[in-house]
């Protein structure tokens, strides 16, 4: 039988990984809410489980598996398909909440991906944070401000489970449902914000303007008129009837160049600027119209999904 041949950094690292899996694994649960095999989820509070929206195919008859092997019935507390996050409410308070990491993830940082797709114990894989990117369009009508990529293997059923650091603190939520099947992780800070909002409102409030636009270059003359260097703006090619944009006096042919003082030159920036807090607020929108710079106050509406 092998004897421990004294402390070496490899055994120390090994022990640290085991401890991280044990501590984060206690908050990694099974989410059984789809026809295929179950996926994973993260205990957000004693009775709330955060998971990937795409693994929640049914809103009733959801079962959550605990590390003990017991199953608890759960219902959908809220979902945000745009960021591929869903929050489940357990019928009783049972889960030990996961702890999010406080700092931001760094490229090269050692991480573990955890999942519990079966009742037969925790599963894990080791890797590093390979890249940090964003914002990206999620392909589900949303915009993800930041995302993480890892080379840790995400095994089947790992969607909804945590990416954790070597102390077992959650740095992200893993999902293969955001970017056409390629796996990425939603940073914990973003995931926790969304979870908080879902716990309070059941959905994520997003601002609504009611325009169709396309990015265009600004000519040197237009930039002179604007009084600043800005390479592009958003040409309005459609304004919906009865929309906040129409109510605020925006016209087809206007080029949006700034929202509330923040320059805007592509559609993603426009979407990102229409945050939930702006709903109902008159927001100054700067446009170039017939060679003149005009600022129209527009009362932002709420997007219905």
């Amino acid at each position: 039988m092998a004897k421990e041949t004294g402390e070496n950094p490899l055994t120390a690292l090994s022990e640290a990984m085991v401890a991280a899996v044990a501590s984060a694994g206690a908050a990694t649960l099974t989410v059984d809410a789809r026809r295929r095999f179950p996926a994973s989820g993260i205990a957000f509070a004693a009775d709330l489980v955060l998971t990937a929206d795409h693994v929640v195919e049914r809103e009733e008859d959801i079962a959550v598996g605990l590390p003990s092997g017991d199953q608890v019935a759960a219902s959908l507390a809220g979902r945000d398909p745009g960021s591929d996050l869903a929050l489940l409410r357990l019928e009783k308070t049972v889960a030990a909440p996961a702890k999010p990491a406080t700092g931001e993830a760094r490229v090269g940082q050692l991480v573990l991906a955890l999942g519990r797709p079966t009742s037969k114990g925790i599963q894990a894989s080791l890797g590093v944070v390979s890249a940090i990117g964003g914002p990206i369009r999620t392909g589900r009508g949303g915009l993800l401000e930041r995302y993480l990529r890892t080379d840790a293997i995400l095994y089947p059923g790992f969607s909804g489970g945590p990416l954790v650091d070597t102390s077992g603190l959650v740095v992200g939520l893993n999902t293969s449902g955001l970017a056409r099947g390629t796996a990425l992780s939603i940073p914990a800070s973003l995931a926790w914000q969304v979870a908080q909002a879902l716990a309070e409102h059941g959905h994520i409030k997003r601002g609504y303007l009611g325009v169709r636009s396309q990015p265009v270059e600004l000519s040197a003359a237009q930039q002179r008129t604007l009084g600043r260097e800005q390479a592009g703006g958003l040409l309005l090619v459609g304004v919906e009837e009865g929309s906040p944009a129409e109510g605020g006096g925006l016209l087809v042919g206007d080029i949006i160049v700034a929202i509330d003082g923040q320059p805007v030159s592509d559609p993603d920036e426009l979407v990102a600027s229409l945050t939930g807090e702006r709903i109902g607020q008159p927001t100054p929108i700067q446009v170039i119209r017939a060679g003149q710079v005009v600022t129209q106050p527009v009362r932002i509406g709420e997007r219905r999904s």
């Binding site: 039988m1 092998a2 421990e4 041949t5 070496n8 950094p9 490899l10 055994t11 690292l13 090994s14 990984m17 085991v18 401890a19 991280a20 899996v21 044990a22 694994g25 573990l112 037969k120 114990g121 925790i122 599963q123 894990a124 894989s125 080791l126 840790a152 293997i153 095994y155 089947p156």
Partner: protein, 223 residues
Amino acid sequence: MTASMILSAWFTDSLDEVVRRVQRSLAVVQDGRRGGGAGVVWRPGGYIVTNYHVVAHIRPQRVVLGERSLPVRLVAQEPAFDLALLQADDPNLPVALVADTHDLRVGQIVLAVGHPWGQRGAVSMGIISSLGEAVTIRRPPGWRGNGWRRSLSAGQTESVPIIRTDAALAPGNSGGPLVNAVGGVIGINTLIVGGDQGVAIPSQVVNAFVDQRLPRPVRESFV
């Protein structure tokens, strides 16, 4: 040198030491064609453990340890657990450090050592991804084939504990050791699932197989 540079140098030295320790007891089991698989010197007396599937369709004549090529004979095989026991013609081969595998934990650092794609003594690192069981079929004597594959032919199903790892495995790792952070062998690498998950048979299963099949020392009895 900064503290982190000292740590990473120490880390590398430790890895190097562990790998060297493992490679001393690592054999190439040649099948005469593609380079075959790996094997581990498990017990004194030249006893080498490998996978059954490495030797299933050949009768290995020789193994290579370091620079030496040695004649070898097949002592025992167990298709159900995909294990085979060979004996090399040298009783003094360096025996691997075999770890106790009753208290394995998910997250433990592991190294797989073998000959992936024929690259001798190559090392890959990962962790224990999960601990589970696999269903295997114990075949009647004389049955030839792979013990893992389900088929309608006769046999008794049986479950065997397995170690799953994210350490990269490839053909040529079969029969080679999966070791822990001190170089203790925790299992024999056996299978690749879904392209990215390795499966190893834990040392406790290998020990039971070897104990059962090794010739027992003759005991004198009182009459």
